[in-house]
Symmetry: C2
Subunit: 497 residues, 2 copies
């Protein structure tokens, strides 16, 4: 067994450390020399590229186009929307100068004080302000609407405590920004994109998510409503995996974006924004992986099948090479990404452990006996089950198996999640259950005061007011577990990443 | 004729203004509220996405993988490579603080002086330093080599005079950064990537390029050799369209990146870097477009075919819709991107001018007579020639025509370029010819002094020492046109963007 694998902390010992180690050992990402900024390594980036490509296709299918807006935002723009500035001004990177010069003592370069900007620029923490300032020039009439733009970009938020993928100062994301003529249309757009995110999470990432709306306290700064998809990690904590905001006319008013409607009257434009980020990588890793390393859903695995030969001598290797060549071609013809690893500088045992660590869904092994028998040993990563199969038709078998695995890991995550959704009717019961983790459906009086009291006392937050029902009666009215005041329905509480 | 089109300045009147107007009128890009930063609009970004997708495929075919490195670079990193800092420190955006706070007078937000960074951070102007600092941890042995990474990213250089796509403070690009065990391998890589760029320029952008090596004066800051592809615009000026650098061991030494070679000895790693940027958009626009607007090579056109109906009444429109539906489906089945524009809020004449302005390669029109005759009127954008064709088999005809057009606009650009490559044997002749534009092959004594004298007196620079021969005898030795000293071969001079 490879050294790297042996060293991986077990989830049951320390889930947090297991995650941190796995991200690095599986070559997904690492810390950089710049505090809080990560390097996304090629294997990690290959997964992100698959996420990007699929989401991008789904955005385009729903009528969206890509564009690109500036990295830097004039400081004054942040102040234009009152709530927005409170949410984002506190943690941003500020550009104050535009030139360096040689230090007089020859020690290197220093900031040139003569090159101070008149107005400081902020590295975008999110782009509503610069984009709505741009849309002002794009929109005059209802005929210019809707605008359905998305951008793939890097953003920057000066986070104090960072963790690879989950919370980094710089991260990659997409941000959709749409402009509409009516409130109804904008609200429908925000809901539609939440649906796209939920579909993507479930069908590609194999992560079941709860769709719902955030409480006022957890809303995006500047939104009327924030919709969210919430996933459950294997430690029972919640991970907010994507959000879609109905922004009302807040940004249109802040940047004076009006249009002439069909009745020939001036009206402010309605807006949405929605985004997912490299945080999804964290959700992917934490939902499915095990003590042997990553478990990747086949739909997002950069390498879906690895083939490893076991041989006594060069002659035998050549025979196996020849045999495998056809199998590789047939797998590729079915659209399956396959790697044949016949490198001679690593032993098979090392390779096995390494590909397990990296979460390659299917491993095929061919040894001398297999060569004689026209067979291969197949191992599936999700269950670690092995079987010996004939080489004839193995490509169809693998194709079907990949689909079965995709469904299996989704079902496994769904069963786990559902088994950890519970209810609490009293605050004492809640306090006890929250220690065990999971999602707790409880009644809440709808006030920020109560929400903050609960957060302070239990570290649990309202993840969302779910759209769907999870236990009988959760949509019926009741009494707040803390204050006893009336509550319209149960909401989901959890500790969260 | 649409207002936008009528207003487009003619190339012969003012080429520079024609370009500036065209970029904006064709909805490719516009200035933003941030000095020197552009907004890439959806239509422009759609072309950039096609460029990205194709290049990315070509990088992967040559064994490269993508990764992502931090946006910000510690100031001290820039100083590590002596020439590099001279080239890049002067024009960079400097982050000095990490927080804003509310102004005491309530006027908005101000930089929080308590949140000053110990070491300033620079927005990457290029990533050699942060990447080689990272590679240090990735490379121990020759077994870890080569590393063949590329990154798609935004970079920032504080340019004083900016023009959309051609020179902007922020721009999008890819930067490849490779690490090798031997000098030979690194040099071959730098040459290979130059070849990839040239192939891409010629086959997809339909732009003929001269491949060559830069003079010492024009090299990338920190490189041993810079290879370049140089294109000629319609005003006879050169546009450097891509560069590939052999970096020797300069960055490995600056960041102390050594590896144990096969002989078990420590050695510094050999490096290359190579990049193309959104500047390619400028090259694309300026090479092919005409006084009617954009001319796009079919391989990069977001919409390859537009179909416009001309109808007398709703009933006729419905008949045309029904007829066109099948044609759209058959075009799409051949992989052709097609838009059927039956919007009723614009007149056909407006649509014609608009799609010409946007450079859609093929326009098909169906009117009432066409409907009776089973025909369509076809116009090709490159020559503006019209013909009437039967609807039967029109999809194959269009497919073949798109390929013919791709070749035609390349050939047109090549003929133009070749007609404007000339020689000069005396400095007087050179001074006269450089006023007329074009590429001038002349002898030069190889010194930076002479090169700078020529630049000062004529605004012409050495674009490259070309690999190929363009006129008889250009690879033979001669005498420098300025100093009379010996010269190994003719080099290409031009005024440049």
């Amino acid at each position: 067994m490879a050294k790297e694998l042996k060293d991986l902390t077990k989830r049951s010992e320390n889930y947090s450390q297991w995650y941190n180690e796995l991200v690095v050992k599986a070559d997904l990402a690492e810390q950089s020399a710049v505090r809080g900024c990560m390097v996304i390594k090629p294997y990690g980036y290959a997964i992100w590229e698959k996420i990007q490509r699929q989401l991008d296709d789904m955005f385009k299918e729903t009528g969206h186009v890509n564009a690109y807006f500036p990295l830097l935002i004039p400081k004054s723009f942040l102040s234009r929307e009152a709530e927005h500035v409170e949410g984002f001004a506190k943690e941003c990177a500020v550009v104050t100068h535009y030139r360096l010069k040689n230090a007089e003592d020859g020690s290197g370069v220093v900031v040139d004080p003569a090159a101070k900007l008149e107005e400081e620029l902020i590295i975008r923490p999110t782009s509503e302000t610069i984009i709505w300032n741009t849309y002002k020039n794009w929109i005059q009439s209802y005929r210019d609407l809707p605008i359905l733009c998305n951008q793939w970009a890097n953003v920057f938020r000066w986070e104090m405590r960072t963790r690879l993928f989950l919370r980094t100062a710089e991260f990659l994301w997409q941000e959709g920004h749409t402009a509409h003529a009516t409130r109804q249309e904008a609200e429908a757009e925000a809901q539609q994109m939440l649906g796209v995110y939920a579909d993507f999470a479930e069908k590609y990432m194999a992560i079941p998510v709860v769709k719902g709306v955030k409480s006022a306290n957890e809303r995006f700064a500047g939104a009327i409503d924030t919709y969210t998809i919430e996933a459950m990690m294997q430690d029972g904590k919640a991970l907010q995996s994507g959000t879609s905001h109905f922004l009302g006319q807040n940004f249109a008013k802040a940047f004076d974006v009006q249009f002439v409607n069909k009745e020939n009257k001036l009206e402010y434009v309605w807006a949405t924004s929605w985004g997912v980020s490299t945080r999804l990588m964290g959700a992917l890793i934490m939902t499915h992986s095990d003590d042997n390393g990553l478990v990747l859903p086949p739909h997002l695995a950069p390498i879906q099948v690895v083939i490893v030969p076991i041989y006594k001598n060069e002659e035998q290797l050549r025979q196996i090479d020849a045999k495998v060549e056809g199998i590789v071609a047939r797998l590729k013809a079915l659209g399956i990404s396959v790697k044949y690893d016949n490198a001679d500088n690593k032993r098979p045992g090392f390779k096995f452990a390494d590909y397990e660590l990296r979460g390659v869904p299917v491993r095929l092994v061919m040894g001398g006996r297999d060569l004689e028998n026209n067979t291969m040993e197949l191992m599936r990563r999700d269950t670690l089950e092995k079987e010996t199969r004939s080489c004839d038709g193995i490509e169809q078998y693998v194709r079907d198996l990949l689909e079965e695995m995709q469904n299996n890991i989704y079902q496994k995550a769904l069963n786990y999640r559902n088994s950890r959704i519970t209810t609490a009717d009293t605050y004492d019961e809640f306090k006890q259950k929250i220690e065990e983790g999971g999602f707790i459906l409880a009644h809440w009086d709808g006030t920020t005061e109560t929400e903050e009291k609960i957060k302070e006392e239990t570290k649990a937050t309202i993840r969302c007011i779910p759209f769907d029902s999870f236990v009988p009666g959760d949509k019926e009215p009741g009494r707040c577990m803390v204050t006893g005041k009336t509550s319209a329905c149960r909401v989901i509480f959890a500790r969260a990443y």
